[in-house]
């Protein structure tokens, strides 16, 4: 794991002031100690959730680290008896996150290319609208968006998915990010393609898109992670528990549990909600840099 993370670190380590700093050695030791201590401290909660998921309910409130007895009852409960069971929650989460990722890639790259390269009247004004959407908090949109989707019949049955994906289909962030990336690609390649008689779509598809790999990967990774973890819109738009995503399943499980919470299966659900993002993070860590466009403008 360490190796995988280190090998994709792109930035060289900064040089520590070499002049006259006799304390540098000790400072480094203190820093290592603090980092290990903090790292262990934040590792404990995650480890505790994994351990607890293999405990029995009475054992789950005991402070022994190793489960005694070791049991997979919690997992069996979460996979079969929980309503809806984990496999269905995961399927819903994956389907919604996958769909929102694809729509953001397709719509974001097309619109990003248009705003970066194509000339048409009103382009700057329309781009301002894209930026303005980043300033509108989702909470303001809760009531009107729900009523619009409700009127369109998109709040019941399978249509709930369509309603949710419609709301998540394209974010101003995706367009903004793709546009910024296309702006950095030299124009020569496109012009060569245009002289060869390629149309605008062919130029986009054959020349520009293959060059935009890193930007597409960033949009895909951030969008998938964001939608997988998403809480607010699914809570509003998925009313029927069979359509719940993992975070909603966790909330329902937690809020219905009251005082007799069944911790082991709940911990199993937490593991399953966290694990896919951890795997994604380990493989695509370099794309997880928090983009200013994403975090800085939408909060």
């Amino acid at each position: 794991m360490i190796k995988a993370v280190e090998s994709i670190e792109p930035r060289p380590a900064p040089v520590v002031a070499p002049v006259g700093d006799r304390n540098a050695h000790w400072r480094r030791r203190v820093a290592v100690f603090l980092m290990v201590a903090y790292g262990l401290l934040m590792f404990v909660p995650f480890a505790w959730s994994v351990v607890t998921s293999f405990k029995t309910l009475p054992d789950s409130v005991q402070m022994t680290f190793l489960p005694n007895p070791f049991t997979t009852q919690g997992w069996e409960f979460a996979f079969t008896k929980l309503q809806p069971p984990i496999p269905m929650l995961m399927l819903n989460s994956a389907a919604i996150a996958g769909a929102a990722t694809v729509t953001n890639l397709v719509l974001g790259s097309l619109a990003g290319y248009a705003f970066a390269r194509l000339r048409f009247p009103g382009r700057e004004a329309l781009f301002l609208i894209v930026l303005a959407t980043l300033m509108i908090p989702d909470q303001l949109r809760l009531v009107p968006v729900y009523l619009m989707l409700n009127a369109a019949g998109l709040t019941h049955g399978f249509a709930q998915y369509i309603g949710l994906v419609t709301v998540l289909a394209i974010s101003g962030t995706s367009i903004f990010f793709m546009r910024q990336y296309f702006l950095t690609i030299p124009k020569d390649l496109e012009e060569a393609a245009r002289i060869d008689g390629a149309g605008f779509f062919t130029t986009f598809w054959r020349v520009m898109l293959p060059l935009a790999g890193p930007a597409l990967a960033t949009v895909a990774v951030l969008q998938f992670q964001g939608t997988w973890n998403g809480f607010f819109w699914p809570l509003i738009l998925l009313q029927d528990s069979n359509h719940f995503t993992l975070p909603l399943g966790l909330a329902a499980f937690r809020l219905a549990g009251g005082f007799t919470t069944n911790w082991p299966p709940q911990m199993a659900t937490i593991v399953m909600a966290t694990l896919p993002i951890l795997v994604l993070y380990l493989f695509f860590q370099r794309y997880f840099v928090p983009s200013v466009a994403k975090t800085g403008l939408t909060g």
């Binding site: 002049v19 480094r28 290592v32 382009r123 329309l126 607010f232």
Partner: protein
């Protein structure tokens, strides 16, 4: 292509250039069509629709029933629970923002040291920021149970007398007690978001030239002195940027409050936040959408004014 067209004015090439221009414009509109329609309806349209809904008594089933004018707004502003929600949210923001920023900066300084394995620590410290908020909150609730790991750990460490000084019992119900519930959420969110703030600060730290530190070292400044007199002031743009991001995020606190305190912000409205109040107005039982829309507008005005004030004071976000 442009050169050829210019060289032969009035030739068929010019004509085809005009045609290409038209085609380019049409292609442009087609490429942005779907996003713009969605934005105009679901974002820009939402604001105006919200304003319209907010002046009605509007039931989810029957739609608009009675025209109320500004009554929904006045009812919300006069509701003690709404006022409590505003107080709670401002308290959360006022405490959480500096705490998370300090922790983020502290971690950034740590992982900026030239140490083997620092990339691993960087990656590890950032992970809570990208994990599911629902999963981490439920995990936090589990740890903070009266018979949970946190209470057991402080008993094992023998530090309960310190907690007793503050009036906390050995089996303190952190999230179930109205005096500690919000602080528990503050600590949770300081932990999870500090990873993001760490990366923002790290980028700024690495942009600081090493020369200034060398000069300070020659002048005999210690590491701590150098931090407070050089690093901290030089990070001013980062402080402003992270602070702005944090305040806007803080005013929108919802997930953790809802998961820990349910739709009522239990216990005793201690976890009732502005967004939770909005959610409760719409889906908490009464389904009074006119009222909820009015609450949404009030929230928007508050968040937007906070953004404008900060922009006024500190300038626009660096990316623009």
């Amino acid at each position: 292509m442009g050169v050829i067209a210019a060289a032969r004015p009035g030739s068929p090439v010019t004509k085809s250039k005009g045609l290409a221009k038209g085609r380019e414009a049409i292609t442009g509109y087609l490429f942005i069509l779907v996003p713009m329609v969605l934005f105009l309806v679901l974002n820009i349209g939402s604001i105006f629709y919200s304003l319209y809904i907010s002046v009605w008594h509007w039931n989810i089933r029957s739609g608009p029933e009675t025209l109320l004018g500004t009554k929904n707004y006045l009812t919300a502003l006069g509701d003690p629970i709404f006022q409590q929600a505003v107080t709670n949210t401002l308290y959360y923001t006022a405490v959480w923002v500096p705490l998370a920023m300090a922790l983020g900066l502290f971690l950034a300084v740590l992982v900026n040291q030239k140490i083997r394995g620092q990339t691993f620590f960087r990656a590890a410290f950032y992970f809570p920021a990208i994990a599911s908020s629902a999963a981490i909150t439920v995990l936090w609730i589990f740890l903070l149970e009266p018979d949970g790991l946190f209470n057991a750990a402080r008993a094992a460490l023998g530090i309960n007398p310190i907690f007793a000084l503050f009036g906390y019992t050995d089996s303190q119900n952190w999230l179930g007690n109205s005096s500690t519930a919000m602080n528990s959420i503050i600590i949770l969110n300081a932990w999870t978001t500090s990873g993001t703030f760490m990366l923002f600060y790290l980028a700024s730290l690495q942009a600081i030239s090493q020369d200034v530190y060398e000069a300070a070292a020659i002048d005999g400044a210690s590491g701590v002195q150098a931090f407070w007199s050089i690093t901290f002031p030089l990070l001013k743009p980062a402080h402003y940027f992270v602070g702005t991001v944090a305040v806007i995020g803080g005013l929108q606190l919802f997930d953790q409050a809802y998961l820990a305190g349910s739709v009522d912000g239990s216990p005793d409205n201690a976890l009732m936040t502005m967004v939770l109040y909005l959610y409760r107005s719409a889906f908490g039982g009464s389904f009074d959408f006119g009222y909820a829309a009015a609450v949404g507008i009030i929230l928007f005005v508050m968040i937007f004014s906070a953004t404008l004030v900060q922009r006024r004071l500190f300038g626009a976000a660096p990316s623009w």
